[in-house]
């Protein structure tokens, strides 16, 4: 990884509280003449359900993944190269306002973001990024529902207008449909 300055300036209110259960863990990078080492995950650091699965995702410039929400799955996101703006929107009925926030993550300063079920999330990578993602549940399309990334109800002020999307993320329904489906499945969870 080459340490670099963030390529995009995103206006984010850093005093916005994170949704309940979301945590952003700062990690220590130990550098020496050979390079560096970062302990990104220790089971003992986390009290949430531990990952059953780890994924590596590589995204090109101007790519947005999401917005998705899970009824059961916890996600653990670590940006290891490039940078990513994470949009979070709390869909849980008991959520307090403000429900939405943007967080900027960079491979130049490694952190681990923990996202609980019920917090919808999208990942926008302006210059491309590599993510390491832990998931507490094996991938199950029934628990990977999504809505349009730019649905106004999400309250996410994305710094992009025409990001690259997957076919699935292009074909998703409205916020209202997603919220109804989420509330139904979380009631059974």
């Amino acid at each position: 990884m080459t340490p670099h300055e963030p390529a995009s300036e995103v206006t984010m209110n850093r005093s916005t509280p994170l949704p309940a259960g979301v945590s952003l863990v700062s990690l220590t990078t130990h550098a020496d003449s050979r390079g560096d080492l970062t302990e990104i995950f220790r089971n003992e650091w986390h009290h949430s359900p531990l990952p059953a699965q780890w994924l590596i995702t590589r995204s090109g410039a101007n790519t947005l993944r999401g917005v998705h929400v899970h009824a059961l799955n916890w996600d653990y996101l670590c940006v290891i190269e490039g940078e990513t703006i994470v949009g979070l929107h709390d869909m849980r009925p008991e959520a307090a306002d403000p429900r939405s926030t943007l967080i900027q993550l960079s491979g130049a300063r490694i952190q681990m973001l923990v996202i609980p079920p019920g917090v919808a999330h999208g990942f926008y990578s302006p210059v491309g990024a590599t993510h390491v993602i832990g998931a507490s549940k094996y991938f199950d399309s029934a628990d990977h529902r999504g809505c349009r990334w730019d649905s106004p109800e999400l309250g996410l002020d994305w710094p992009c207008t025409a990001p690259m999307l997957s076919e699935k993320d292009r074909a998703v329904g409205s916020y209202a449909e997603l919220r109804a489906a989420y509330l139904r499945s979380s009631a059974h969870a």
Binding site: M1, D32, G35, I56, T57, V132
Partner: protein
């Protein structure tokens, strides 16, 4: 379970018994690709408790190290790693077998290395890799020897690599054999 990864066709070296190389599958499109690195329901020998991210500059060599108790499970994310292995387990069917194999981030695989198989990593280019360990880091389970000790049977494409002070000052292979045997006895007593 969707599939269980198996050894890639590119794997040519005969490896010490218990070392497992798995080809990792990926899916997605040109905008975004996802590689499945690990699943708890794969028959992976010892479940990891910790994951580390390591970046290395060109001409770095890490090792040669051996562990008495813990497994390593690693995968190159970008760049390339020349892996050197040497079996130090007297009761292994491949005792003293040395092997080397190049792994590249563009052909994702995972490599599981059991206790008792000494390993060194050489990076000819800037390389990032992830590795999981089956036990939290314990300095007492980090034995090593000089990376270029001829008794390892490994030939590295470098004469003067970047080493940590600890690796640069490591002892001979013969001393490592004695230290490993003593540590194995202690571990057996305590288990």
């Amino acid at each position: 379970m969707s599939y269980i990864p198996s050894a890639p066709e590119s794997l040519t070296a005969r490896l010490p018994d218990g070392v497992v190389v798995r080809e990792l599958h990926d899916r997605g499109d040109h905008a975004s690709r996802t590689t499945e690195l690990y699943r708890a329901d794969w028959p992976i020998e010892v479940p990891p408790v910790q994951w580390n991210l390591v970046s290395s500059r060109p001409s770095t060599l890490r090792g040669v190290h051996v562990h008495v108790d813990h497994w390593d499970y690693l995968s190159v994310v970008s760049g390339e790693m020349l892996l050197g292995l040497h079996d130090m387990r007297p009761r292994s069917p491949t005792y003293k077998l040395a092997a080397q194999q190049l792994f590249q981030g563009k052909l994702p695989v995972s490599i599981a290395i059991p206790p008792g198989v000494a390993h060194g990593f050489y990076f000819g280019v800037t390389t990032t890799y992830l590795y999981a360990v089956s036990h939290y880091w314990n300095p007492a389970d980090e034995l090593g020897c000089r990376w270029n000790d001829p008794d390892l049977g490994l030939s590295w494409p470098v004469a003067d690599p970047l080493l940590s002070p600890r690796d640069a000052g490591a002892s001979s292979y013969g001393e490592l054999v004695r230290a490993f045997a003593a540590a194995t006895d202690r571990s057996a007593l305590h288990s």
